[in-house]
């Protein structure tokens, strides 16, 4: 079973809460992190989330977008969303300034299985904006560093300018995360690794594969090959987790858009166990 939302489902799941943009941090081109605060203090006190969950950000008159939460779940009162401009809602969000208000419904969806991670090694395999939904998991694992074995982050992007949170890597390293970074295409200035992310997994030593948990988020093809690599290295399929993306409209399993075979990505996912979704991942148009 996936971890479920720590919050009781909203009495009215359609009611958005008003949030205000506390600050905006530009990350990379077309990507910014929005720190949000609830206007209603009671909601702010009540709100908590699990790593991997998402909120529906609602810009009245424009629509809603499902955006994963990117901040540390233990840091109460801090609610960050790292958003890439990809459509109408995210485009409009990018035009807002600190102080602007809009709506938020959430948190929704399943979470990264942190309780199953602790006690063993963890390898996070991710690419591009896929690091955003894993950042809370990185924080949570670092919060529980003493309970974990080896912690490794394998992260890739198309080019160096597509790498997120690079100014945080040193902090994560100091606190106990091995961070390996790669890009598909190098630049003259890039002295780091060139190649795809699954290759980093192929070559990394896995001392206790059967006690290793792999958390993946990125393009489905990348996750598929990362999982193949992990399986080939002896990681059990039930210890590999992926975060999937589908069109999300309601976020509460009532609108039908995000179905992926038996799963509603919004409420059964987005974080799902690899062996439960693997058979459908390479079926075209499903």
């Amino acid at each position: 079973m996936n971890p479920v939302s720590p919050c009781l489902p909203n009495a009215d799941p359609w009611l958005a809460h008003t949030v205000r943009i506390a600050s905006i941090t530009d990350e990379i081109q077309d990507v910014a992190t929005y720190r949000l605060e609830f206007v209603d203090a009671a909601i702010a006190d009540e709100f908590s989330f699990l790593p991997g969950q998402f909120n529906m950000l609602y810009l009245p008159g424009v629509g809603e977008a499902a955006i994963s939460i990117s901040s540390d779940p233990q840091q109460r009162g801090v609610l960050d969303h790292t958003v890439r401009v990809a459509g109408n809602v995210t485009g409009e969000l990018a035009r807002l300034n600190a102080g602007a208000t809009f709506g938020l419904r959430g948190p929704f969806g399943s979470a990264w299985p942190i309780d199953e991670c602790v006690g063993g090694d963890v390898v996070i395999v991710t690419g591009g904006i896929g690091l955003a939904p894993l950042r809370p998991a990185i924080h949570e694992l670092l919060n529980r560093r003493d309970e974990c074995g080896q912690l490794t982050l394998l992260y890739g992007a198309r080019e160096p300018s597509g790498l997120l949170y690079t100014n945080e890597f040193d902090d994560w390293r100091q606190r106990g995360f091995d961070v390996a970074v790669t890009v598909d295409r190098g630049t003259d200035a890039w002295k780091g690794n060139v190649g795809v992310v699954p290759q980093l997994l192929d070559r990394m030593p896995l001392e206790n594969p059967e006690q290793t948990t792999v958390l993946c988020c990125g393009p489905e093809v990348m996750m598929w090959f990362a999982a193949r690599s992990a399986l080939g290295r002896g990681v059990p399929a039930e210890r590999i987790w992926v975060s999937l993306e589908r069109n999300m409209n309601c976020a509460i399993g009532l609108c039908g858009h995000c179905q992926f075979g038996p799963s509603f990505i919004c409420k059964d996912g987005p974080v799902l166990r690899y062996d439960q979704v693997a058979p459908l991942l390479r079926v075209e148009g499903f």
Binding site: R158, N193, G195, D202, R203, V221, F225
Partner: protein, 156 residues
């Protein structure tokens, strides 16, 4: 800590770990350890290459020269991966330049000795060439993933 022997290293590296101990010992018999420092070139594009390298630790980058663009980095290789296989399965002419990007330990096999070993003893040769084929297959898959340009939609 004592430096691990070549046989000990082969037992851990992806290219050789699934081979039998006998095969690994045979390979160790023709292997040489070499330490590279950052900037050392192990093979040069267009030039003859007489050794196959297995990276034990560190990283080697592969660059190809494109007129007007200069050296274009296409791949970085790490522990357990092989390079300069043109010496074995090509015509000895390197298709890329391999440069150590940090202190790197490689295990080198001279092409004649490697081929001699594989040809004279098929019990060694077949599994070794199979591992080489698997390494090339993995490299091909990685190249395909690079070709797919999976993050293209994230780039402006």
């Amino acid at each position: 800590m004592a430096q691990p022997t070549i046989t000990e290293q082969l037992a851990k590296l992806q290219f050789t770990k699934d081979l039998s101990e006998l095969t690994r010992t045979a390979l160790a018999g023709i292997a040489q350890q070499r330490t590279l420092i950052a900037g050392d070139i192990v093979c040069r594009e267009g030039q003859s290459s007489r050794e196959l390298f297995l990276i034990a630790s560190g990283h080697v980058a592969l660059d190809m020269f494109v007129p007007g663009r200069g050296q274009v980095r296409i791949l970085t290789l790490g522990p357990g991966e092989v390079l300069a296989w043109s010496s074995i399965v090509g015509n000895h002419g390197s298709t890329a330049t391999g440069t150590a990007v940090e202190e790197t330990h490689v295990i080198a096999f001279r092409d004649e000795e490697f081929m001699q070993l594989c040809q004279s003893n098929h019990d060694v040769g077949y599994p070794v060439m199979r591992e080489l084929a698997k390494a090339i297959s993995r490299r091909l898959v990685s190249t395909r993933l690079q070709l797919l340009d999976l993050f293209a939609h994230e780039s402006a």
